[in-house]
Symmetry: C2
Subunit: 110 residues, 2 copies
């Protein structure tokens, strides 16, 4: 089995990957937008505001670099996205089955 970071990605696979990537990204951002709006609507005190700030700092730290679209990172990125529920394995249909199998296996050990 090829090493995860050594997979070759065909143009067709990259198209599938890009679409899956942007779907997951959009879902995660939409959810974050909803959460921030909800939290903002119940703000009242300075502490509430700084708690929102702390929350955004943590989310930014987490999201910075998460959506890494370099080929060498894709298997790991997709594993995280599937594990976190932003993407289903079905949405990776069209990728080489060996990659999907690796992604699936990683979701169980990450």
């Amino acid at each position: 089995m090829a090493k995860t970071t050594e997979f070759q990605w065909s143009a067709e696979e990259m198209a599938v990957a890009k679409l899956a990537f942007s779907k997951a990204y959009r879902r995660e951002i939409d959810t974050l937008v909803r959460v921030v709006r909800d939290r903002a609507s119940s703000l009242n005190t300075m502490d509430d505001i700084w708690q929102l700030h702390d929350f955004l700092s943590a989310r930014r730290h987490e999201l910075d670099g998460k959506y890494d679209d370099r080929e060498s990172a894709l298997i790991f990125v997709f594993s995280s996205l599937v594990k976190e529920g932003w993407l289903s394995l079905d949405e990776l249909a069209g990728l080489d089955p060996e990659k999907v199998s690796k992604i699936s296996a990683l979701t169980r050990i990450l």
Copy 2:
């Protein structure tokens, strides 16, 4: 004229100061809450979210320590609050006129 940091504050003056202080604080926080809610309601992209985060970082940096209620700081704190429009000089009625005059003078040079 006494140095700004050497003013003595009577119990009556401290009561006036505390009330003025809490009014200004409440106004500034209420305004910030409104601004954050408005910005949150028009969030859409990750960039929007991080711009809100940057905005909160800047406001937090600015507000940390601004509401310093040590006697030695009060003249300066009130000058800033009046200059920024969170407090009117009228609301400091009850303080020694020399203090109000100093606060007023500082609003013009700060």
